[in-house]
């Protein structure tokens, strides 16, 4: 009951003009960054990270939540209009959306995508609000060995989600974990891997790591491509604002069952670490096609297909907050950066946060609902403009982002050394990515590595170094068995099926 009241307070907090301004700013930023191919919501979050120092944590989280929500939808605009999905989560939308666009039904495709995103976003956020207190109560029951096995489970699942480059995902995760050990030991005042350099005693700052991994690396990747514009495609698209306003007939075509089912699929996928919006959209789409009375239309301009993909990927947002908030385990790169915002602002995600500081998280949950509801409005107001934004010359865009990201590192600590670290991390992450080492694994390793170490060492200190505690403790055994189940279904079984084929 107390938490329901705090959530209502969260909605009231959004009526503060300043908080509302940041929510809208975040939503528009997320939409624009996701719409522009090459830019991502993760990059938008990395860029706003330094300015969150100047905000109160609740406002910062509101902005992050709306960037996430906008970012999941924004990519559908370019997916439909120019057949270039702004993010991997919008690939399925491009399949049917662009067919509709070529038939002159682009505005309708964008309308139903926005409505589906809004429905999925609201549904995911409401399920999050309903279930988080229960999951948090359960999380309190997990003891130290169980926490170790849970963190290990999450790390392994994130690695397994990159199964096409499994070894490289392992190496990237281990590099992240090694970077996290630089500085003072997590349990004793002993310097580790500092190479006798005093400036390394504080370790590598999370913000410099995030900006390096996601902003600097992206600039380096884009610089390989040089100037490229989508204006030639975009200029052929002529629409009016009223074309984007939702109609009742759209809702009938979308199908309520399709909306509800895709929301649940998206939410469940979101809860699983490593799966992300693209997996949610894919599974939502596949299920909608399976259950459809007109499966032959899928791939040929199916409204059901667009709705299923967009509903599922936005419902995924609510789901991905479950492991992030209740266990401090981010499921994907966006959640990892939001977790970084929490840590940088002095919050420690986990059951304790939800029981003692729920009032700081409640506005963020409310922002998920409100920003999802505003998606059709943002499309209505900005629809005709989005394609012009996409046409901004890359030179200006990336010069601005490069300046923002490096000066952002300076702004948070007034230290030029943070700019150097971000640059060095960015260069390293660029070469890793160029060789197919996923940088999201590096970030997850960096964030979860210290937790893994603390829980491992605390557990072993209880038994004088006897590792059998992980098998005798019920919660730990459960997560270890769960890990084995996932390894079987994600690696061993597909390999066997491939061998048999």
């Amino acid at each position: 009951m107390d938490q329901i009241l705090q959530i209502l307070d969260g909605f009231i907090a959004l009526t503060d003009p300043r908080v509302f301004f940041y929510m809208i700013l975040g939503l528009v930023l997320g939409e624009i960054f996701a719409a522009i191919p090459g830019l991502t919501a993760t990059l938008a979050l990395a860029l706003i990270l330094p300015i969150t120092y100047g905000m109160d944590p609740a406002t910062a989280l509101v902005m992050c939540a709306s960037i996430y929500m906008g970012g999941m939808h924004g990519g559908s605009i370019t997916a439909v209009a120019i057949n270039i999905p702004g993010s991997p989560a919008n690939v399925m939308t491009a399949i049917d959306g662009n067919v509709m666009m070529r038939r002159g039904l682009g505005a309708k495709a964008l309308r139903v995508a926005a409505l589906g995103s809004a429905f999925g976003g609201v549904a995911g956020a409401l399920i999050l609000m309903g279930l988080t207190p229960i999951v948090a109560d359960l999380a309190l029951l997990i003891k130290t060995p169980g926490k170790f096995s849970l963190v290990l489970f999450s790390i392994i699942i994130v690695i397994l989600s990159h199964k096409e480059v499994l070894n490289k995902a392992v190496v990237a995760t281990l590099i992240g974990m090694m970077l996290a050990t630089i500085g003072i030991d997590v349990m004793n005042p002993i310097a580790r891997a500092t190479y006798d350099q005093a400036w390394l005693l504080d370790g590598i700052d999370l913000m410099a790591l995030i900006i390096g991994c996601f902003a600097v690396t992206e600039m380096l990747i884009q610089s390989q491509k040089g100037e490229a514009s989508y204006s030639s495609h975009a200029s052929t698209t002529k629409t009016r604002p009223r074309d984007y306003w939702p109609r009742w007939s759209d809702l009938r075509e979308m199908g309520w069952l399709n909306l509800c089912k895709s929301s649940i699929i998206g939410y469940i996928i979101g809860v699983l670490p490593g799966a992300g919006g693209n997996a949610a959209a894919f599974l939502g789409y596949v299920e909608a096609k399976r259950a459809s009375k007109t499966p032959e239309q899928f791939g040929d301009g199916s409204i059901e297909g667009i709705v299923a993909a967009e509903t599922a990927n936005n419902a995924n947002v609510g789901g991905s907050f479950v492991p992030t908030l209740t266990f401090g385990i981010p499921g994907d790169s966006v959640a990892a950066v939001i977790l970084g915002v929490m840590i940088i602002n002095g919050l420690q995600p986990g059951p304790q946060l939800l029981s003692t500081q729920f009032h700081l998280v409640a506005p963020m949950m409310a922002a998920l609902v409100v920003s999802a509801m505003l998606l059709p409005v943002v499309l209505y107001l900005g629809g005709p403009w989005y394609l012009r934004v996409v046409s901004i010359p890359k030179g200006i865009l990336f010069a601005s982002i490069a300046a923002f990201s490096l000066i952002g590192c300076y702004a948070s600590t007034y230290s030029v050394s943070q700019m150097w670290i971000a640059l060095a991390v960015g260069v390293g992450a660029f070469f890793l990515q160029r060789n197919n080492y996923p940088s999201v694994c590096l970030l997850i390793g960096y964030i979860l590595g210290p937790d893994l170490e603390v829980y491992l060492r605390r557990s072993l200190s209880l038994t004088d170094g006897n590792p059998s505690i992980f098998l005798t403790s019920g919660d730990s055994l459960f997560f270890l068995l769960l890990t084995l189940v996932f390894i079987y279904f994600m690696v061993i079984r597909p390999a066997r099926i491939m061998q048999m084929d």
Binding site: S223, P393, I396, A402, A403, N435, R457
Partner: protein, 165 residues
Amino acid sequence: MQSRQLRPRLGKGVITPVIILTLTTSYLLQSLKIGPAFSPNGVPEASFMPILLAGATFLALVPIILRELFGQENATDLSGAPSLINPALFILTSALFVLAFATLGYFIATLLYGYAIITIFRFRDGATLRGQIYRIIASAGIAFVVFLFFRVLFKVRLPEFMDGF
């Protein structure tokens, strides 16, 4: 035939794992200096995790390096990868920007940095006067917008000319 298949080939893909291997070895040597991995009663100490991580990295790197050296199918294919000239220019420009930021101050450093990045991305034709004017105006605009954002909106004190001296 068999011996030809097992002949190692030194592709570009092997460079990254070898660099990681070298850095991990250096990290391991640093970690070994901390002290023993376990206390006398078997409890892990500060060096335990770094040694474990370094060991695990070595193990994970072995199949990658072998694949890059001997594998044909799964080796990293960088043959079609874009040129590194622009990224190298970007890194050099960014490093110079960080150096200039504290000494030349925010405005001059950002103006020059913006101009350099715009040039790397080949915005407008740099050979014409009009193109150069566009580039200068765009970089001045970037410096002004970033200033408005950090200094005016978030009250961040940005370095001024010769602040670093």
